[in-house]
């Protein structure tokens, strides 16, 4: 027996008992000191240990808010001096533990959360390390089992030494396992200890660490005085480990909190009245349990760090270790670089401080697009534009090869009018004239199949690579939020909680914005309440068949109206595009026509699309009010309609262009011979021009909108007091439409990439300028919105829209590559029948084996196989997800069951107490349904009342100040 009784007595803090090993359960009879502690911590340091390390847990430790251990102040500590042997054993056992958990314990190499998860919380591991903890709390101590079921050991009578506890007959120990039957142990010392040991060894409790911890803390003031560095490490390690261990302890305390509530506390000051003290007590107790668990971990970790140099790692472990550190260093390096490189950090911070996370997410997206387009631009430049500019002078000449000859003459046929003066600028805006014969457009590129650089192959591969890269980047950018969104979509019955717990935007820095935010939250919560009332009244109203009929009629009419408007928009786009193309092509060489009129006509399709996008959404927002939907649904349906409009206009444009270029029979130059069709000599460049114009117009509109609409509106709203303008108010930064704008512009880039290689470059410039313009709009023109914006809810939509848009863009591009004959007279593919022939020709030159492989992999047989395989994978994943859902539901049920078990156990406990009924007759019998909180209160009171009458209580030392600032 290594416990020094003097120390226990001298120690005002805690300890009631200690018990020896199972082999030799010795109880120290002398230990009857006035022990105020609530806690009995008994450590069995392995079966083999002869000298049992026994220590108590410090009962009242200030709970550091971070959940980290602060060294307790001396009087509060339960210092149990250890014999050197004992402490050695403690350390040894800890070291053993360290070894077993070395993978995740090594904090210097930053064991991550996830890693830690693998082992479960530390208690688990300890259990495996043959440590058997038994923590006999004065009344209740909760063990947390591996299966996260609760085992409670109850000592109804507290304030007795262990000896008493074990020898006295009426001490029942209830050890309950929520799944198995309750186990009543006791009456007799030995069985108690034995069984308790058995159970506690099966229940891997983290409490054991408490004792282990104390060991280390009590051993020669933790081994050495550490250098300032290791102290620092220690502190921070504690911090992070605190986080982790918190998880474990939280988990256990989560299921056991009510138990620990009852766990009656160490004596309180006698003069302190019991009524007010319940809460503090509860808190203290909870703190303590949790604290202890955490403390233990910290000590382990600290010990680990202190002795780190002496820990010998070898072989694979060492290798792994170094590798992990390297990877960590590398990722640190990259994050440093990324932080340095990412532009506009401060601007985004300012915006977030003013508007909150929603608007900031728009700017983050804009920044992401900026970087992403730089990447695309670099790729296109490096592999297409620069090689082309180097080989630009190698022109095709008339040769014997018939295809080349045709191409040569067709090329001669394909001319552009180069004008000077104003037209020069106009051509630049329209992408016609001299502009068409630059590197910006597909038509200018040549087909030098013979040269050292296979431009057609490079061209097509680069475009394909860009598309794939886009997909990968998007997947990477969105996967995290997508995951969250999917997770969220499983069930959405958490509106209120989300509104409250996710409401405050911690990034806000502006006082006015914060006030507005509070107002907004108030508005939001109130509107939710109103919404609920609205739903209730609507249900009642719709009882009436007539009202229901009226509502559905209204909805049908409005939907028809919206479809009509979409149809009208589509029709307008079709008409305008074909008219403008035919007009422009018939008047292209006509110098009599006013240049500006021509410009306008050229731009008419783009203008129509933009006008539709600008005008229709407000109409949608208006009519939706008549449909009597709930507020959340209104947002969704308006968004869906807007998106539909945007995508539809692009689809319509594409179809119109496609009919233009495939209009009528073609000649050998693959240009149309039908006089009714517009004369397009090089359809690739024509396509490119359309997107070029759309990109420019999109940009101009965005800029004009800020300077001509938002800023004046803001000024008017501030200066003017007349009714209408006041009602209109200052503009609002509409995140939804702004993000849709961005997605739309990116869509244009994807579509135009094949035909206008420099589009990403344009997008880079565009997004760069747009950032500052939008910042102006956000910071100056638009005051923070009062309506709270749910970033996540809309983000799901955005991601779906972005992916959908990508798909929509990829289809025409792929069709252009595989399905349309390239023009004979222009472009890098002029000698080929289809663009993808560039790849196939290249493959033919490969070794036979490789080319066969390629042929096989593109054959129908192979694609069929792949499709079947994909279907199987989908089926498998689908089954998996179903199983996971089921499992999630099971776990949820388990959580509920656990709560019930807890209550059941409490009631059992209560009954037990009633049976004992010694000093607490006052405690009323509790009904099963009674809430836990009440139960704990009653128990607490039941415990305390007699105590206050007990004169022996006076010998207890006063409780420690819990929130001692020194700690």
């Amino acid at each position: 027996m290594t416990v020094k009784n003097e120390s226990l007595i001298a120690n005002p803090a805690s300890i009631e008992i200690f018990i020896s090993t199972i082999e030799s359960p010795q109880l120290d009879d002398n230990d009857k000191g006035p022990c105020p502690s609530s806690k009995l911590s008994i450590l069995f340091a392995g079966q083999a240990a002869e000298n049992l390390p026994i220590s108590s847990s410090p009962t009242r430790r200030a709970r550091s808010p971070t959940g980290l251990v602060r060294p307790a102040s001396p009087p509060a500590r339960s210092v149990t001096p250890m014999s050197p042997v004992a402490s050695m054993q403690c350390l040894a056992s800890i070291e053993e533990l360290d070894k077993s958990t070395s993978q995740d314990e090594d904090d210097t190499s930053d064991g991550t959360f996830e890693k830690r998860e693998r082992h479960g919380y530390l208690g688990h591991t300890i259990g495996e390390a043959k440590q058997s903890p038994l923590n006999l709390d004065s009344s209740v101590e909760v063990y947390h089992c591996k299966s996260s079921l609760t085992v409670s050991s109850v000592l109804p009578e507290r304030r007795h030494s262990a000896t008493d506890a074990v020898s006295q007959d009426q001490r029942n120990i209830v050890i309950g396992n929520s799944e198995e039957a309750l186990v009543y142990l006791s009456k007799d010392g030995e069985p108690l200890v034995q069984s308790a040991h058995e159970i506690s060894s099966s229940s891997k409790t983290a409490d054991m660490f408490v004792t282990a911890e104390d060991y280390c803390e009590n051993t020669p003031r933790v081994i050495v005085e550490e250098s300032s560095k290791s102290q620092r490490r220690k502190r921070l390690v504690k911090r992070r480990s605190g986080l982790r261990s918190l998880e474990a302890s939280e988990r256990s305390s989560a299921s056991s909190e009510s138990d620990s509530d009852i766990a009656v506390e160490a004596p309180r000051e006698e003069d302190e009245k019991h009524r007010g003290s319940k809460k503090r007590k509860k808190q203290e107790q909870a703190n303590q349990t949790e604290q202890n668990r955490m403390d233990a971990r910290h000590v382990l970790m600290r010990h680990k760090i202190l002795t780190q140099k002496s820990v010998k790692a070898s072989g694979i472990v060492l290798l792994e270790e170094t590798r992990r550190k390297k990877v960590k260093q590398l990722s640190n390096f990259f994050s440093n670089v990324a932080y340095t490189l990412a532009p506009w950090g401060k601007s985004i911070r300012d915006i977030e401080g003013y508007h909150g996370a929603g608007v900031a997410s728009y700017f983050l997206f804009l920044r992401w697009l900026f970087g992403f387009n730089i990447l695309l631009f670099l790729l296109m430049t490096a592999f297409i534009v620069i090689p082309m500019s180097l080989i630009a002078d190698t022109q095709l000449t008339a040769s014997n090869n018939s295809v080349v000859k045709t191409s040569y003459y067709c090329g001669l046929n394909y001319t552009v009018v180069e004008q000077k003066g104003v037209s020069y600028l106009l051509d630049f805006i329209q992408g016609t004239g001299w502009m068409e014969k630059t590197l910006a457009f597909h038509g200018h590129y040549v087909s030098n199949l013979s040269g050292s650089y296979n431009l057609p192959l490079a061209y097509i591969l680069t475009v394909l690579a860009c598309m794939l890269l886009s997909l990968a980047m998007m997947a990477r950018y969105t996967s995290k939020s997508f995951e969250a969104a999917l997770l969220n979509s499983i069930d959405t019955n958490f509106e209120s909680s989300n509104k409250v717990f996710g409401a405050w935007d911690y990034g806000l820095t502006d006082a006015k914005a914060a006030q507005l935010k509070q107002k907004g939250i108030h508005y939001d919560l109130q509107s939710e309440m109103m919404e609920q009332a609205f739903m209730r009244t609507r249900m009642e109203r719709l009882e009436n068949k007539c009202a229901m009929f009226r509502l559905y009629l209204a909805r049908t009419i409005i939907n028809l109206f919206i479809i009509f408007m979409l149809g009208a928009a589509a029709y307008a786009i079709v008409k305008v595009t074909s008219w403008s193309t035919s007009y422009a092509s018939s008047h292209a060489d006509d110098s009599g026509v006013d240049k500006w009129l021509l410009l306008l006509i050229q731009y008419l399709p783009s203008l129509t699309i933009t006008a539709c996008n600008a005008l229709l959404p407000p109409i949608f927002e208006l009519v939706v009010k008549l449909e009597d939907y709930s507020q959340a649904f209104i947002i969704k349906i308006t968004l869906i309609r807007t998106v539909f409009l945007r995508l539809a206009s692009i689809i319509v444009l594409l179809i119109t262009l496609y009919t233009e270029i495939t209009c009528g029979p073609t000649n050998e130059c693959r240009t149309t011979v039908e006089p009714d069709c517009s004369d397009i000599r090089c359809w690739e460049s024509y396509f490119g021009q359309q997107f070029y114009k759309l990109v420019i117009l999109d940009f101009v509109v965005a800029v004009i909108k800020v300077f001509a609409v938002e800023l004046p509106r803001k000024v008017l709203a501030e200066k003017c007091t007349c009714g209408l303008i006041q009602k209109l108010g200052p503009p609002e930064f509409n995140i939804t439409s702004n993000v849709l704008d961005l997605i739309y512009s990116q869509c244009l880039i994807w579509l135009g990439l094949l035909f206008c290689p420099l589009l990403p470059g344009m997008m880079v410039v565009k997004s760069f300028i747009l950032f500052f313009v939008k910042k102006l709009s956000a910071m100056v023109a638009c005051p923070p919105s009062e309506k709270p914006y749910r970033a996540s809810r809309i983000n799901t939509f955005f991601m779906i829209i972005l992916l959908l848009t990508y798909f929509l863009c990829a289809v025409p591009v792929l069709y252009g590559i595989f399905g349309i004959h390239p023009s004979r007279g222009c472009g890098p593919f002029r000698l080929l029948d289809y663009m993808n022939e560039a790849i196939e020709n290249a493959v033919q030159e490969w070794p036979l084996f490789l080319s066969n492989t390629y042929d096989l992999s593109t054959s129908a047989a192979f694609s069929g196989t792949v499709i079947i395989l994909l279907c199987m994978i989908i089926y498998y994943l689908n089954t998996m997800s179903k199983a996971h859902n089921q499992r999630a539901n099971l776990l949820k049920e388990q959580l509920i069951m656990e709560g019930r078990d807890k209550q059941f156990l409490l009631n059992k406990l209560q009954e037990q107490e009633q049976k004992l009924g010694k000093k607490n007759e006052a405690s009323p019998l509790k009904k099963v349904e009674q809430p836990v909180a009440q139960a704990s209160e009653k128990i607490t009171q039941g415990k305390q009342n007699p105590r206050s009458n007990d004169p022996g209580e006076g010998s207890f030392s006063p409780p420690h100040v819990v929130d001692n600032p020194e700690w």
Binding site: E247, N488, S496, H522
Partner: protein
Amino acid sequence: MGGSQSVFTEEELDDYQTLTYLSKKEILHVFKRFKSLAPGLVEANKNVKLPMSKITEMPELKVNPFRDQICKVFSSSGDGMTFEDFLDMMSVFSDGAPKNVKVEYAFRVYDFDGDDLISDTDLQNVIEKLTGANQLSEADMQQLIENIMEEADLDDDKTLSFAEFEHVISKAPDFVNSFRFRM
């Protein structure tokens, strides 16, 4: 960053980086922010413990209705914050911190009475702080609390334990977006 570079040794920075979710640049930035709260004091001693009143001068905290709770949660001593406390806080509020870490701290922030349970009084406190000057009517407040409890309180004990809170937060995706400071 040149000025503050010399404040920490490379070794210290390495440690901080390993032990937080921040990169070195961010750590230096955090220090700059810490210094800006009380330039004189911090320059004299970088490990100085700044009182809460100084800490709440930080723009994010100044407007935050939960600032006192946050300070309480992150202060190691209860009466002020050292740079490491501050770094700890910024690390938790950084983008790099995993969700579960954030959830844990959020739980502590919302747990006003510190009993490791979010009771209806805590909830009322949270809502009152959130809505600021305009308060919900008593009926609405009760209804709202009832709603939350209905959604989140799985074991019907009229309080939210950490597990329940974590569960409900996992269904509240706005939380991760909002529980952070921009570095």
